[in-house]
Amino acid sequence: MTTLTMQIAVLDAAAESLAAVADTVTLAGVEALAAITTMAGAVPGSAVQTRLPAVPMEQLAAVVSTQCRQIAQRVAGGAQAYRDMEAALRDGMLAARATVPVPR
């Protein structure tokens, strides 16, 4: 395995991990909001109903998740750059092989 191939593997795994984290954060926001809504309806007049919904849980999760996804995309962009570099090197080597006699 070449260094480039290893770097691509590291970055691919990193991008995948961050994308998965972004998905988890989004889901956490939805679930937290659902939990708050459920609780607020169960105890009318309490602070759970009057104060807790003021925490913008879903928006926070959305912003944190979006940012994480953007980082994942940046990392994926890095992997793609290495992939392009690898392809260019391979093409260059193939072209060289076509012109240079291969020792038998």
């Binding site: 260094t3 290893m6 770097q7 590291v10 970055l11 795994a13 990193a14 991990s17 961050l18 998965a20 984290v21 988890t24 954060v25 956490a28 679930e31 937290a32 659902a34 939990a35 708050i36 459920t38 609780m39 309806g41 169960a42 105890v43 009318p44 007049g45 309490s46 602070a47 759970v48 104060r51 807790l52 003021a54 925490v55 913008p56 928006q59 926070l60 912003v63 944190v64 979006t66 940012q67 994480c68 953007q70 980082i71 940046r74 990392v75 962009g77 890095g78 750059a81």
Partner: protein, 533 residues
């Protein structure tokens, strides 16, 4: 909260919700650990290097710093709510028991928790009646005590929840709205990722598009540091997002105000000129500050997009220039200056913004009150000189607003009076003038025709009120309202009252011009009311 409400609380559902909330809070540790591991993998020497790597890693550090502040608060909140459930359960038990006992003894419990006992003992009662009355009175007292205990227990639960919600309050989260982004969140949490080393170099003389590309390649940390540490470079740099310019310009405004107010007034005879300049600067700064307060009072996001005390220029937005679907830039005419007119220009921006919402509130709009060039005084107005010097500034401003990566806004330049001369000169600048549409109001000519804008005729709109004599002076060439000669599209621009149909009422709330401008800003070109409609 009434005792009846309290007794009716659904504690099982509350407990279920709390368990779910706790489970969500507990997941945060797992995903932070995972993201942290990614950060470490990326930081390994052989993994990835270069500016893109540094930018990604810095942004990830910022993300981890934000979650490091948010997640403990979330866990504390979930734990606090779980603890409160216990108090709420006891409160509900006490209230239900009180109401049951009240029912048994024919006792009334009011919504305010006050227990009304039945008639008590009197001397005319028989012995058995007296005993029963005494029993009811004792029961009433017991019910009252139970109701009060229920309230006390509920209040303990409330205090726990309020305290943990307060943790978020302490983080500045309530100021965080649906339109906020990660940068807002970092600011709210006071998160900065400190990275030692030099600040990136601002590209000299680059066009707005190149600046936008350079900026988007920086890490959030670098963007923050540049806006805060070099506001003099960032505040007026076209192509930089409005949030960063706003941050920079507010720092400049604040610094200028402090410096001017701290400077001792020199009353010596020889210091007259110094003092006059000092006063002028102070008036300028105070005018900008007042206009900014006025803009913020509109309830919309307001950004100080330009603040240049040396050149005497400033610009303030109504609406978020970074996220709006539609952006309008108001270009003023003769004798408009920041010290005397910033507030008036902001009012015009507010009127236009409000009119767009009345016409169609489905798309976000931002209007920029722009005093971004040196307008002529009345003696200079016949000359195109100020327009020619202002044109590149306007072109760069529009270019900067449309350089937003990913989703550039629809952009309209709304020019008034001599501002139309400046706008046309910007249209004639080498390169493309990035406005999607142009509105020329009360124009004394533009030194050319609608063809200067390189927009189709149905995107160059000309409005002239019936009694606008300034627009009939031909001071700068063909009167644009001569549609067949000038080109463009003539739009209705009168006021309901003919006496007001002059040079100064185009932005009045009930003017035809304002209604048409709102439609144009939103890209509803076919709905515009023409001169002959």
């Amino acid at each position: 909260m009434t005792p009846q409400e309290l007794a009716g609380w659904d504690i099982d559902t509350l407990r279920r919700g709390s368990t779910q909330f706790l489970a969500v809070a507990e997941t945060t540790r797992a995903w932070v650990t995972r993201a942290d591991a990614v950060g470490q993998a990326l930081a390994a020497p052989a993994a990835w290097d270069g500016p893109a790597s540094e930018a990604a890693q810095s942004t990830l550090r910022a993300w981890l710093a934000v979650t490091a502040r948010l997640n403990p608060a979330l866990e504390a909140l979930a734990a606090g709510v779980a603890e409160a459930v216990g108090w709420y359960a006891q409160a509900q038990d006490a209230a239900a028991a009180a109401l049951r006992a009240a029912g048994t003894h024919g006792i009334t419990v009011g919504a305010d928790g006050v227990v009304s006992a039945p008639p008590g003992y009197t001397t005319r009662m028989e012995a058995d009646q007296a005993a029963a009355a005494a029993e009811r009175a004792a029961a009433a007292a017991a019910v009252q005590a139970q109701v009060e205990e229920a309230f006390r227990l509920a209040a303990r639960g409330d205090a726990l929840v309020a305290s943990d919600v307060g943790v978020f309050t302490g983080l500045g989260i309530p100021g965080f709205t649906a339109g906020s982004d990660f940068v807002d969140l970092m600011a709210a949490l006071h998160v900065t990722v400190t990275s030692a080393g030099r600040l990136p170099t601002v590209p000299p003389g680059a066009d707005p598009q190149a600046v936008a590309t350079w900026w988007s390649g920086l890490s959030l940390d670098e963007q923050f540091r540049l806006a805060r540490e070099r506001p003099d470079l960032i505040g007026g740099l076209d192509g930089v997002p409005a949030w960063a310019r706003d941050t920079a310009n507010r720092i400049l405004l604040d610094d200028a105000l402090r410096e001017l107010l701290s400077r001792p007034f020199d009353s010596a005879p020889g210091a007259v000129l110094t003092s006059a300049a000092h006063n002028q600067d102070l008036e300028f700064v105070l005018a900008v500050q007042a206009a900014l307060i006025q803009a913020e009072a509109s309830g919309q996001t307001s950004q100080l997009y330009l603040f240049d005390i040396d050149a005497g220029l400033a610009a303030i937005s109504i609406g978020d220039l970074d996220t709006a679907d539609n952006v309008a830039v108001i270009v003023p005419g003769t004798a408009v200056n920041v010290t005397g007119d910033m507030g008036i220009q902001v009012s015009r921006a507010q009127q236009l913004w409000s009119a767009t919402q009345e016409a169609d509130g489905s798309e976000d709009v931002a209007v920029l009150a722009w005093i971004g060039y040196d307008t002529p005084n009345y003696a200079q107005a016949p000359s195109p000189w100020n327009a020619l010097t202002g044109a590149p500034l306007l072109a760069a401003t529009v270019g900067g607003l449309t350089a937003r990566p990913g989703n550039p806004p629809r952009t309209t330049v709304v020019a008034h009076s001599y501002g139309t001369v400046t706008t046309a000169a910007a249209g004639r600048q080498p390169g493309e003038f990035d406005a999607d549409a142009v509105v020329l109001l009360g124009s004394p000519g533009t030194g050319g025709t609608a063809a200067d804008f390189e927009n189709p005729d149905d995107r160059v709109f000309v409005g002239e009120a019936e009694d606008d004599w300034i627009a009939d002076t031909w001071a700068h060439g063909i009167d644009p309202s001569w549609e067949w000669w000038y080109g463009g599209t003539c739009i209705a621009a009168d006021m309901p009252d003919e006496d007001d149909s002059d040079h100064y009422h185009y932005f009045d709330p009930d003017s035809e011009a304002l209604h048409n401008m709102a439609l144009i800003v939103q890209g509803r070109y076919r709905s515009v009311v023409g001169c002959d409609d």
